[in-house]
């Protein structure tokens, strides 16, 4: 009887029991030499089994098949150049995930692989339950459970090796690397295909993947071939560093997608902080918990602020009344009572809201939770084309867009940064809150908290959609791989939170004291001039401007007063409220404004919602535009930001108003 020869290569991570398996298969029939040209030990053994002579080559233990070490190159070159009939990968059953990384690379090499699931006894003792059949199903690779030290499973392993060796070509399991990488891989494959030598010698896809990873060893291999120039030209345009990381991530993604089905993981011991992290950063729980915290913060803000708001309300009402009574000159009394006290009052009334919101955010930050929130968001951020670092500016955007956009300086990647700058103004800043508080409070009653929350979520969605859009059109590319510090959990101190609150809140106060003051005086002047017109009537300057713009905003259900308020909102968005107060001629306190808005037939729940959405999205305030210009260093992007956001706002408000009217939510 003729014995058939089979060559088998043993591969695997170091310390997985490769040598014990090797010994168990070959017994004493082995000899030791060196791999050609290097000092890496080469062990070859022979085993006669059934009617086959099996030559077993023990490859150096490696974690992957990149070209980082000589061991890896030796192992890889052997598989690729010598083409053994079967590669047996010894997998440490107690640590499936990292072992499977090598498996994915073996599969890419196009070799016939058999997995020896070694130390499966230890894994079972540890409590891991591995479903062999599932592994075979997902990997399309035969799996044999072995215990090398006790020679368990060796014969079955040999049976599988023979079965694979005599089998015809097998289906190759591919890992998808995502559109961008796949496109490059495809281009490379097409180029390499033109070279007869290379395309015969190496698996096409593997060669392309390695080239894209910037593998030096492979680059050397194609050196001097007919297509070397073309390949280099293509690779020059790509950031290989990023591709390598992205592709490694994808391999893990595919392993992680299979892993839970292949193995019931044992329970691991955890510290309290780690346990908290397990929950807070959990794949499924993380995001809902984060949203619950945010929603809770906004609800709490709204509830806690009410008594303070009532107090400010009373004070301003009294002061305005006092001034109107004491000042004899009528226009001056009107300027001070209607303009200044009215306008500033309707802005200051929201100070409690803003301070409480900042206080709660400070507590979350101080506790260490915000970094986890950024971590939770990273996967999401990545999927929308941004990186984890972009999350911090966007989160700060809830406070004020100006410092938020300045904070984008920490983002190194130019495109990542520009996209973050462009979308950050969609995060609803503190200045926009008064507008929602007034409108939601007036028209949505006890649902106000939920409506405001929804507006904030809409802002986030707008940012996401826009980022994705920019990433796929004008700013193509992949976000940089991420790394981020997670500070230890701490109980936040009252003092630190209070200081933080004051820092952020006082910025708002300063604005209310300066820009907004001038803003409301400006509004008052425009509403009172030319001399003699009825205050804020259609004959005044604002009336004229508003009427000119009315056709533009009419499809959104806005009248000319709203148009005017929105123009003034350009100075600072909170002025929208102040202007509405001035324009409807009530001004001084929220309650009066609220009542007058209810009585006002031209504004009602549906277009109030539209107005909130428009205020959220339309062009950033003048201070933000200034900082966008400064940070982007370009008027082109600044103008783009203004036009894009305003058009976006118009479309959203239009959709809400028209759909709402159609559904019968109109007047």
């Amino acid at each position: 009887m003729v014995t058939k020869k089979i060559t088998v290569a043993l591969a695997g991570n170091p310390n997985v029991g490769k040598t014990t398996i090797f010994n168990a298969i070959t017994g004493a029939r082995q000899h030791v030499g060196n791999w050609p040209g290097v000092t890496v030990e080469k062990k070859i053994g022979i085993r006669n089994y059934k009617d086959f002579e099996i030559e077993v080559v023990d490859l150096p233990g490696t974690y992957s098949l990149t070209a980082y070490s000589i061991d890896e190159i030796v192992a890889r070159d052997y598989i690729i150049e010598e083409r053994p009939d079967v590669v047996v990968q010894i997998v440490d059953a107690t640590n499936l995930e990292r072992n499977l990384y090598l498996t994915t690379q073996m599969m890419e090499l196009g070799s016939k692989v058999v997995i020896a699931l070694n130390m499966s006894d230890l894994a079972e003792q540890k409590g891991d339950i591995i479903f062999k059949e599932k592994m075979e199903e997902f990997l399309e690779i035969p799996v044999v459970k072995t215990v090398g030290s006790k020679s368990i499973g060796i014969d079955r392993l040999l049976d599988e090796i023979i079965k694979e060796a005599v089998k015809g070509p097998h289906h190759e399991h591919e890992i998808g690397y995502g559109n961008k990488a796949e496109k490059k891989i495809n281009e490379l494959e097409n180029i390499i295909n033109n070279d007869n030598v290379l395309s015969k010698k190496y698996p096409l896809r593997w060669l392309s993947v390695k080239l894209l990873e910037g593998d030096e060893n492979i680059l050397q291999k194609i050196e001097g071939s007919s297509i070397a120039g073309q390949v280099k030209k293509l690779l020059e345009t790509a950031d290989l560093e990023d591709y390598e990381a992205v592709m490694a991530d994808k391999r893990y993604d595919s392993i992680n997608a299979m892993l839970p089905q292949m193995c019931l993981r044992c329970v691991k011991k955890l510290t309290v902080s780690d346990m908290i992290d397990r929950v807070f950063t959990n794949k499924y729980l993380g995001l809902p918990i984060f949203l619950a915290f945010m929603w809770g913060a906004f609800e709490l803000t709204f509830t806690m602020a009410t008594p303070f708001m009532d107090l400010i309300d009373i004070v301003f009402g009294w002061v305005a009344g006092f001034v109107a009574e004491k000042i004899e000159i009528q226009w001056l009394a009107s300027l001070i009572a209607d303009g200044i006290i009215g306008g500033v009052g309707s802005v200051l009334i929201f100070v409690p809201n803003i301070f409480i919101l900042f206080f709660l955010l400070s507590i979350l930050e101080g506790s260490g939770y915000l970094a986890r929130a950024a971590f939770i968001m990273d996967k999401l951020m990545y999927s929308i084309g941004l990186q984890g670092k972009s999350f911090i500016p966007m989160l700060m955007g809830f406070g004020c867009s100006v410092p938020a956009i300045m904070a984008t300086r920490t983002i190194e990647d130019e495109k990542d940064r520009l996209i973050t700058i462009l979308v950050t103004p969609f995060m609803s800043c503190g200045a926009r809150l008064p507008v929602y508080v007034l409108l939601a409070g007036t028209f949505f009653g006890k649902d106000a908290g939920s409506v405001i929350f929804a507006i904030y979520v809409l802002g986030i969605l707008a940012a996401i959609i826009s980022a994705k859009l920019f990433r796929n059109t004008i700013l193509k590319g992949d976000p940089a791989p991420f790394i981020m510090e997670l500070p230890p959990y701490r109980i936040p101190t009252l003092k630190a939170s209070a200081i933080h609150m004051w820092d952020k809140g006082s910025m708002y106060l300063k604005k209310a004291g300066t820009i907004i003051l001038f803003g409301v005086i400006f509004v008052w002047l425009l509403a009172s001039l030319p001399w003699g017109v009825e205050y804020g009537s259609k004959d005044s300057f604002v009336g004229v401007i508003g009427h000119i713009l009315e056709p533009l905003v009419a499809p959104l259900g806005f009248d000319w007063q709203i148009a005017v308020a929105l123009i003034f909102g350009f100075i600072a968005k909170e002025i929208v409220v102040g202007s509405l107060g001035v324009l409807y001629g009530v001004g001084e306190d929220e309650e009066a404004l609220s009542t007058s808005l209810i009585d006002e037939p031209s504004i009602y729940a549906l277009n109030a919602l539209g107005l909130m959405v428009f205020t959220l999205l339309y062009m950033p305030c003048v201070a933000t535009i200034g900082v966008i210009r400064k940070e982007s260093g370009s008027w082109k992007w600044t103008v783009f930001a203004i036009v894009y956001s305003t058009v976006f706002a118009w479309i959203m408000a239009f959709t809400i108003f028209q759909a709402g009217t159609y559904l019968g939510y109109g007047i």
Binding site: Y63, R98, Y101, A245, Y252, T281, E412, E485
Partner: protein
């Protein structure tokens, strides 16, 4: 006895020392800034789907698995 392996391959909870970072200039600088320097003691706390959480110099970091492939760590056996 020791072995050198990519950080990602370290078992959870075992300490190792950073020996090398196989990254380009930008990434190298970033990692160095965060304390991933030679001989720093690093430990994997947990592996999630997309990323892992490690401690280094008593700081906790979350990092992508691609990134963790580039950090070479020495561990005693």
């Amino acid at each position: 006895m020791f072995e050198v392996l990519p950080l990602i391959m370290m078992p959870e909870g075992v300490e190792g020392k950073v020996v090398e970072i196989r990254a380009g200039k930008g990434l190298l600088r970033r990692l160095t800034e965060m304390g991933f320097t030679e001989n720093s003691v690093v430990k994997i706390l947990s592996t999630n789907r997309g990323s892992l959480i490690v401690t280094i110099n008593n700081c906790k970091y979350a990092l992508g698995k691609g990134m963790a492939m580039k950090i070479m760590v020495k561990r005693d056996l």
